[in-house]
Symmetry: C2
């Protein structure tokens, strides 16, 4: 008979846990049969001894199996999703899901809210009047089947083990374990049911993993988990050393997403959408190679098919579809502040975590989980590292509703940005690909 004590001790001593042991400890913990103190000791042992790829995949599967998974068998085509580890201005999911759907993929996307300095897809979508992120499992599956994509929050019955584990990790200093992070993310992504998953692992000053080595390790691990769980997976390691696109906030990110769908988006954001979409189509078997994939996605932009699919998604999820043609229907801030350069030179760097926090304090994110988000406020980054800046030239625009918050936001942005002489560090948009 398995005992929690022996499983803790085995991991403490560096042993490899079996499928049976991992499912036992997660299942018993979810049911309340293993006390928190034993699980806390287990988690700390995992923190030190780590899990190998197979153990991490089994942990992910056990956490997924603790709740319900979506049954996508009624969906008449290949299912494919994307997950980003998060950053500032990362609104890729908003144009990407409808573009892939317009190309024949089915995108069952379960997303999250803003966390720390990063924005959240759900918060952005909720700036669209009426948009519902809390579909039932049945509504979600039928939306994916009939629209081709849906973006919702985690439903209550998905991966309850993850919720319980996360709460315990949060108070026992066992959050920052890469294995536990990967298992937590993927237990929910796998429960949403896609056959293929593209992982966008951010790196740089605005990413949770700032160093390329760490980002690469997380990307490799997540790809391994997916494959050990019978999913296609591929990872891109992408630049979060600066905001993605120009807009960071909520309504302004929806607006920028619409500009991508109209073929008028910022180049970095549009490129990442096209490159991500091409890989999703290839994994889904809808194109023979990446060049075909890129062409299909670009075509769905040019033809307006992506924009049309976005409109259908809004209709299906209760959002006001008129925002597609008239973004002024999105929440608008009362005031705009134009921040100008106090010297001429080159923009050398943006501390992107600090820039994200500047948006949070403006009201665009949450400092506590109970805070309300002001969807109307946000920052537009007019200059990126490497750009020449003239003294007096605008560097950002800040849409705000509150003078005190503006002052805090400005102070943070001023510190976050370095203008000077010399050469900036410039990461390519896509640093590496793991497949």
């Amino acid at each position: 008979m398995l005992t929690p004590y022996e499983i803790i001790k085995k991991k403490r001593d560096g042993g490899e846990l079996t499928r049976e042991e991992i499912f036992f400890i997660i299942d018993s913990f979810t049911k309340g049969e293993i006390p928190d103190y034993q699980m806390a000791a287990f988690l700390m042992a995992v923190y030190f001894r780590k899990l190998n790829d197979l153990e991490t995949a089994l942990l992910t599967q056990a956490m997924q199996a603790s709740g319900k998974s979506m049954d996508l068998s009624s969906v008449p085509g290949p299912t494919v999703d994307k997950h980003s580890t998060g950053g500032v201005g990362d609104k890729v999911s908003l144009p990407l899901a409808p573009l892939v759907a317009a190309c024949g993929g089915f995108v069952p996307m379960m997303s999250g809210r803003g966390l720390g300095h990063t924005g959240g897809t759900l918060d952005k979508l909720e700036s669209i009047p009426g948009f519902r992120v809390n579909l039932s499992n049945g509504e979600f599956v039928s939306a994916v089947r009939e629209v081709g994509c849906a973006i919702i929050g985690q439903t209550a019955d998905v991966a309850p083990a993850d919720k319980k584990l996360y709460a315990l990790r949060d108070v026992t200093a066992t959050v920052d374990s890469m294995d536990l992070i990967a298992a937590s993310i993927l237990s929910k992504k796998l429960a949403a049911g896609p056959k293929s998953l593209l992982l966008d692992v951010k790196t740089g000053s605005g990413a949770f993993m700032r160093e390329l080595d760490d980002s690469r390790a997380l990307a490799r691990l997540m790809v391994a988990i997916c494959r050990n769980s019978d999913r296609n997976a591929r990872a891109l390691i992408t630049n979060m050393d600066q905001p993605l696109g120009e807009a960071a906030g909520n309504a302004n990110e929806v607006e920028e997403s619409l500009s991508v769908l109209r073929g008028e988006g910022p180049e970095d954001l549009t490129t990442l959408v096209v490159e991500s979409g091409a890989r999703m189509l290839e994994m889904a078997g809808l194109v023979k190679n990446l060049d075909q994939g890129r062409a299909r996605i670009r075509n769905a932009i040019t033809s307006g098919a992506g924009l049309d699919r976005f409109r259908k998604m809004l209709e299906r999820q209760g959002g006001d579809p008129r925002v597609v043609d008239d973004p002024t229907l999105l929440p608008q801030a009362a005031h705009r502040w134009e921040e100008t350069a106090d010297r001429s030179g080159t923009l050398l760097s943006i501390d992107t975590t600090a820039a994200g926090m500047a948006v949070v304090v403006l009201g665009g994110g949450r400092q506590k989980s109970t805070d309300d988000v002001d969807h109307a406020v946000g920052v537009r980054f007019l200059k990126k590292p490497g750009d020449a800046v003239e003294k007096g030239e605008p560097v950002f625009l800040i849409d705000y509703n509150d003078e005190e918050r503006l002052a805090d936001c400005r102070a943070r942005l001023e510190k976050a940005i370095v203008i000077g002489d010399g050469e900036p560090r410039r990461l390519p948009l896509i640093l590496e690909e793991i497949d």
Copy 2:
């Protein structure tokens, strides 16, 4: 303000905890203000990151401070105690405490019960009809003051943090941490109040630390804890590769202790008593050097002063003092079995843990903490490693009350002992001294 989260994280990341942090976490845990799950994570972090000497001393002091300590200020002379890490046949405390008392030392000894394969001083003393190990704090202090020595169990108000921590360690696989072991032992020993402490750290097949390196590390650590806690301390690393003396059990160990006090004890046991006593007298400042100390202890044997002090200790603690002159008043087993050698040769080794378990299954120890001990049963080891053995010659005597238990005991002893040709490994009685 200190938070448990930050203390867990600091230790997880290899930081050195301050006095304030250690006292905070132990004090809050004892009061129930820190939940078990945070303490479990902390203990596992300690298991991996370890504590340095000062942190371990502070932990020991915090655990001691969680309860009451004996006030020995009324004792009219130097206080000195001895602690052994335990083994088979280790009855040193029984003759040692009265001998040191007879030489002018005051010995406030708080002892334990048998654990695993090892015997316990309290169990041995309880084979003396009427002997009480549960004195109140006041009775204990006055017994030490007036008799010169007392041997009791841990009182309820000593180191409650240790009891609570041990229960948690027991179910979270955090028992076998040398730092936590040392702090647990010494929190209780220091609470008993002696100014000087001799540590007898066993090594070999019957010790908890079988390897000399581990025994040495534990000895060094315990000496460091005592010194960081303002006590004199010294450690001996001694041989537990074979039972100490001949007798292992309870009543038979009391009888052998009396033989030491009469100057008729086995040589190894007598030597360890003399060497231990000499060091205790030296630490207590009662003699100028070890040779003087040895002479004083031997003189207390020859003069009968030690035996007399033992009798006084029995009288004070409710034991029948007549056993001193008539050991047949101790519990006697119904039967004796004489185990003979099935071949001639040299006794090469005794697996002393297995030999200890053979005494436990006979009824001389506990397999579960709720088991009763049969004080009358025991084993007498007639041969030691290096001794020549003739086929048919007796190797042990087994005093028993139950045929089934005898069979189990014999089977274990047969496996534990190797008779053959060649040279045995023979450890010296005292391997090293740390002072």
